[in-house]
Assembly symmetry: C2
Homo-oligomer: 428 residues x 2
């Protein structure tokens, strides 16, 4: 039997406590599978006195995560604090420099500082593992870096923010407005302290940047993602989509195009009866397409104590078994700086706009679309209450560039109130 | 850069040729990801002269797989021959004894001889990897042994034989009889040389035995599976199921019950709009339930050159990276001999039988069911042509034991022609 693997756990929120519970409750199972004991040498969190529902008195305590990360009796440092900068980053760097392997659930840190951290880890001969950072309990990082290593990946897609999916699902099922569904999610504690991270698509964007780096051998490029949140999706959009047999999902897509790497995280219409369309609540789904494997679909819980702790423990078990590989599946210095490509693959789009009650308004819009080469599949104008009338348009397949040209031209007319909503229709 | 990894490939059918192509065509990608070269030292197959659409003249040839498996210039032996015994088993054993790691796609060999082979591998300090043996391109072995290592697994389920699914799908979509759909699948080359392996559920049963061993820390126990093929499913069953909103799938389930390990591979009715019900053609799906992760669903192509070669390459890459672990996720000598449990969880059942045209026949059947405590949810008797009338019954939730008691009693009456068909209805 190999020596015990000694862990230092920083951050005792949902994920951290979930990990402590698994290690305490499943010592025997883990010993049978891994052939090693797991020992928690010390823990750290902001407040020592919080009742976390599990006895922590038996573990040494460190106020400072950096001190924890560099303890002599720690082999693997678990960074479960979160946040792009600050204690999370400082302690991970300190751990690597001190020769520790790192397990983290921190998608933001990896999406922003992943390249530098991967370089530090490799310089130190250590590993950073982060299964819990993307799609909760789904072992998607493992599938992509290991299981599909023989594939040239062509596309990665996913619905990866449970909170957005919850809000959109509740809007549809209960007929709630965006604000009401948002308030409900907030009341249930589903939202991050800064809710923009969720509803602005930033959290899901971080996850996409990580998947994209692995899939395409590129440096993580969060800033290269065309990012759009769900804040402007209305109950009318959801109903109109449903009428046409679609649901609205915050969908991430990363793919190679002739001109570079396209990454987008945007609300899209997907067929209601498709696997993506059927996703409800906090369930995540990731679709991976490769030249050999064709298409793999992975579905599972995207958050929560059990699923995220399951993912962290998978990483800890791998390290205990001696698996250590480059952070993004290949050495950091071989990751390419990806050329950013805008989405070029044409698609039908759903448009919603408020037309001012002026003669010829609709004709003007139709003309502008025609001039940009965007042809209309269906159009519907609703009876109006106020001085504006809602108009819904579904276009035939068009490029986003042509559509944006039309949207810019519309903004320069005097017939459209506010900015139109434009959502891509994906037939996945 | 570490030394090249030298491969010996035995079996140059679909899988073997797929692997050769990936290694030839993606040398650069693999080098970037793994940091090593892959070299094919030698190959072996039954017939050297077959045109396999890829140039093999550059590789050394061995007529005897055992000779290939023990060559000095082979680090990893790829057994892609197939078959439970014979050359496959002999060469794998020889490879392990000669200190080689083994990658195989051979589900039958692992389901039957897995325990002995795992012991041999561990005694030799070598690994057997077999991602391609279960569910084709889906990295399910990896998910179960590694990603979910922190979970107590409660249930594993799956649709894992593409040929059966193809036949059942064609029967429904094209209204074909079982025999016609079988002949179509045969014409397309989808069937094994011995078609019973597919339609008898044996191939899928082998896969279930492997998953079950990993999930429950049990010795693979293929003989412990309640096994039933699709041969008795008729177009009438498929139509009746569709009328009630169900589809028929050959579904494998392995779960722990209070009395032991329940393993069954049987045609079942599943809701048509559920993820399992929506599976079409050769696509496989595996569902894993664990105490921490809740439920993970993995979907992908279950067969074919690309997907199986992708799985084999995932294993080869893992070995190249130095990952080596016990065959079934924990040391072979810690695997328990599982107590076989019959399915005890009650479920509704679908019954079809041919009643002889005798007065009181239906009453007799209803009485027998009632006496066994099986209550009837719905019953339908069709107009009859011959001397028998088809009767369909859907029961309320009942145990299989009670149902079997009723079926035995029915067989002893003089009103039922032939053996009734009984299919479990799973609300998954």
């Amino acid at each position: 039997m190999t020596a015990p693997l000694r862990l230092g756990i920083a951050g005792l929120g949902t994920v951290g406590i979930g990990v402590v519970k698994i290690i305490r409750q499943k010592a025997e199972l883990l010993r049978a599978r891994i052939g090693r004991e797991f020992v928690i040498s010390a823990v750290s969190a902001r407040n020592r006195d919080t009742d976390r529902g599990v006895a922590l008195a038996g573990y040494e305590w460190e106020d400072d995560p950096v001190a924890l990360a560099t303890r002599d009796d720690v082999d693997v440092y678990l960074e479960l604090i979160g946040g792009t900068e600050g204690a999370a980053k400082a302690s991970v760097e300190a751990a690597l420099r001190a020769g520790k392997d790192v397990v983290t659930a921190n998608k933001a840190m990896l999406a922003i500082h992943g390249q530098a951290l991967a370089e530090e880890a490799e310089a130190a001969g250590r590993a950073i593992r982060y299964e819990a950072a993307v799609a909760g309990g789904i072992p998607v990082i493992k599938a992509l870096t290991e299981g599909l290593a023989g594939n040239e990946i062509s596309r990665v897609m996913g619905v990866m923010n449970g909170t957005c999916n919850y809000i959109l699902t509740r809007m549809e099922k209960a007929g709630l407005s965006y604000d009401a569904a948002f308030a409900e999610a907030d009341g249930l504690g589903y939202l991050e302290a800064d809710p923009t991270l969720d509803v602005g698509g930033i959290d899901a964007g971080h996850k996409l940047a990580i998947l994209s780096a692995i899939a395409f051998g590129a440096r993580p490029d969060f800033d290269g993602i065309e990012l759009e949140g769900i804040e402007r999706v209305t109950i009318e959009d959801i109903r109109a989509a449903a009428d046409m047999g679609f649901r609205i999902k915050l969908l991430g897509v990363a793919q190679r195009t002739g001109r570079g790497l396209e990454q987008r995280m945007q609300p899209c219409l997907v067929p209601a009866n498709s696997p993506l369309g059927q996703l409800e609540g906090g369930t995540n789904m990731v679709v991976i397409e490769g030249d050999a494997v064709e298409q793999i679909v992975l579905r599972g819980p995207g958050a929560g104590e059990g699923p995220t702790a399951s993912a962290v423990m998978g990483d800890v078990c791998d390290l205990a078994r001696g698996l250590r590989q480059p952070t993004f599946g290949q050495p950091a210095d071989t990751l390419q700086e990806a050329t950013r490509a805008r989405s070029e693959l044409p698609a039908p789009f759903y448009l919603r706009m408020a037309l001012l009650d002026k003669p010829g308004a609709l004709a003007k819009i139709a003309t502008i679309l025609g001039n940009s080469g965007v042809s209309i599949d269906r159009m519907r104008q609703y009876g109006h209450d106020d001085t504006t009338a809602p108009v819904l348009i579904v276009t035939h397949r068009t490029s986003r560039v042509a559509l944006d040209e039309a949207l810019t031209a519309m903004a320069q007319t005097d017939v459209v109130a506010g900015a139109p909503v434009a959502l891509r229709i994906e037939h996945l």
